[in-house]
């Protein structure tokens, strides 16, 4: 029996930094969500369930016993989930043909196409959001072109809407869908596609019964990779959505700014974490099940 001490020793420096500056603070967030808010931000060290209560409900200002659903919060939760699902769908719709296109190029040009997808993936999200803002501003590119061609007389308002946020998120997260789909297609057995056509299957039948089942793991991975950052989005809705189309990330940030309710912000952050972990568990379940089917 050899000792494992040296392995731990090698990992210790990294683990110390990670615990201090990544995992540890998350535990403090959990503690803070059960405290009372201070007047100027911060917390008062008194146990309270008020923050968690306020995540979903609100009290009447004059009669604190009157309780109602916090519709403003529920609206933000729903918008976050709905916009993230739509983003995932758009990315899948555009990403599948794109990945297929790359996977069916000759080997030497494939690398170039793949590189073209990878570049936006590694360039700053802020700059890509800025690029979208430039396109859809009232005096941005799209409106300028439409006015110049005479299609419209006055600019269309696109910024600060759910549409703008959706467009921005689909734009910045698209590579996250294409890359795993491509990886799945590269491993695909194309002779099965050929066999399908030999047996007089239509293109739709081949797509549905031969290609899709084989790239399903890539689809699921891509969807999770898009859905998780979309739920956690902060920069894109802040720039393109503004105050009226807040997402969960912006609602959290608000509690640490003007809202001055740190415990509520902490509770909302944990709620976001629960959503993300839920999506991950769902992913592992689905992948586990499809593996089981293949083996069985």
């Amino acid at each position: 029996m050899r000792g494992h001490g040296w392995k731990w020793l090698l990992c210790t420096p990294a683990l110390i930094v990670l615990v201090l500056a990544a995992s540890g603070p998350l535990l403090i967030v959990a503690v803070y969500s059960f405290l009372s808010p201070g007047n100027m931000g911060g917390v008062v060290w008194e146990f309270s369930l008020e923050a968690w209560f306020r995540v979903f409900f609100r009290r009447d200002i004059f009669e604190p016993d009157q309780v109602a659903w916090n519709t403003a919060h529920l609206q933000v939760f729903w918008r976050s989930i709905w916009l993230s699902l739509q983003t995932t769908f758009i990315c899948a719709f555009l990403g599948f043909p794109t990945a297929w296109f790359i996977a069916t190029r000759p080997r030497h040009t494939r690398t170039i196409w793949l590189f073209l997808i990878t570049i936006p993936f590694w360039t700053n999200l802020l700059i890509r959001t800025f690029a979208i803002q430039e396109m859809i501003r009232n005096n941005g590119t799209i409106n300028a072109v439409l006015i110049w061609t005479g299609v419209i007389d006055s600019p269309i308002q696109m910024m600060f809407s759910e549409f703008a946020v959706l467009l921005g998120m689909a734009y910045v997260f698209l590579p996250l869908m294409v890359l795993p789909l491509y990886a799945a297609m590269e491993k695909m057995d194309f002779s099965l596609v050929e066999a399908g056509y030999d047996l007089y299957a239509s293109r739709l039948n081949v797509l549905w019964h031969i290609i899709l089942p084989q790239v399903k793991p890539g689809f699921i991975a891509g969807s999770i990779l898009v859905f998780i950052p979309a739920i956690g989005a902060y920069v894109t809705p802040r720039i393109l959505g503004g105050g009226r189309t807040m997402m969960l990330g912006n609602l959290i940030a608000l509690q640490f700014g003007q809202g001055r309710n740190w415990p509520l912000g902490a509770a909302l952050a944990l709620l976001m974490l629960v959503m993300v972990v839920g999506a991950l568990i769902f992913y592992l379940r689905v992948v586990g099940r499809s593996d089981g089917v293949r083996r069985g």
Partner: protein, 272 residues
């Protein structure tokens, strides 16, 4: 002849409409970036009306002392954080790769990959709370918080290519060194470490790009006067922006592009 054409047209790889959507996707992906870059060279103030070629906005960006400050701070932070992260990730990779399973390994993986799973905004406010508490206790308001936060965030990105490289190394090389009476330290110094260099380099570059791009965590951790280039841009985007912002963004893009290209070549030659 006609038959040959018909045969060439039927390709098993073709799916109707897919090529069109794919090309449209590539255009949509690049058009906004290209327009952004083009208008950084505009002579006028407009970002949608072309008034001729000029470098005035680049000049304006270089002469803007605030832009210079935040850019230098970003670069310093990225180099520092990526260096720490690379060293820590290299040690961790040596401790977890090619060693067989050991108790607690799953927990180590979970801790290393945790920054990848948790949304940046959650990490951001968690650090805000933590840093605020430390500031009250110690009074320290320096760059240390940002360095620690960026280092932790870069570790999983640096770890991935280093670990991938280490996994491809053949144990036989070290065994041969040992047969030739090399001490374990000599074997590591002259065999393992040189072979790990491409992975370490790739890990450093990935960490550098990630630190350079990090905006949300920085936004919540920074003290007054610690703006980095991304948080400065985030603040500016609220106002009416001039092509100066396009020029800054273009330079930023060019830097990222250079690093990504270099990374691409380093990791590609690795496979051969």
């Amino acid at each position: 002849m006609g038959c040959a054409v018909a045969k060439a047209r039927f390709s098993i790889n073709r799916l109707p409409g897919f090529g069109l959507i794919a090309v449209a996707t590539f255009v949509m992906l690049y058009l906004p970036i290209i327009i952004l870059v083009v208008f950084s060279f505009n002579a006028g103030v407009s970002q949608s009306h072309w008034d001729g070629f000029s470098l005035r906005w680049y000049q304006a960006a270089f002469n803007n002392s605030q832009v210079r400050d935040v850019s230098l701070r970003s670069l310093w932070l990225a180099v520092t954080a990526a260096s720490f992260a690379t060293i820590l990730a290299t040690l961790a990779a040596l401790g977890t790769t090619r060693v067989g399973r050991f108790p607690g390994q799953t927990m180590i993986y979970a801790l290393i990959n945790q920054p990848l799973m948790v949304p940046e905004i959650v990490t951001g406010i968690a650090l805000l709370i933590f840093v605020a508490a430390i500031k009250v206790q110690t009074g320290y308001t320096g760059m240390g918080y940002l360095v620690a936060a960026h280092t932790a965030f870069c570790i999983p990105f640096a770890y991935l290519p280093i670990r991938a490289r280490l996994e491809t190394l053949d144990h036989a090389l070290e065994a041969a060194a040992a047969d030739l009476y090399a001490s374990p330290i000599q074997a590591f110094r002259y065999i393992t470490l040189p072979l790990m260099v491409p992975g370490i380099l790739a890990g450093f570059m990935l960490g550098f790009v990630i630190s350079l791009d990090t905006v949300v965590i920085t936004e919540f951790v920074k003290s007054a006067g610690q703006d980095t280039l991304p948080t400065y841009m985030l603040g500016q985007l609220r106002r009416a922006v001039t092509p100066e912002m396009n020029a800054i963004a273009t330079l930023f893009l060019a830097l990222s592009l250079m690093i990504v290209t270099a990374f691409f070549f380093i990791t590609r030659t690795r496979g051969r």
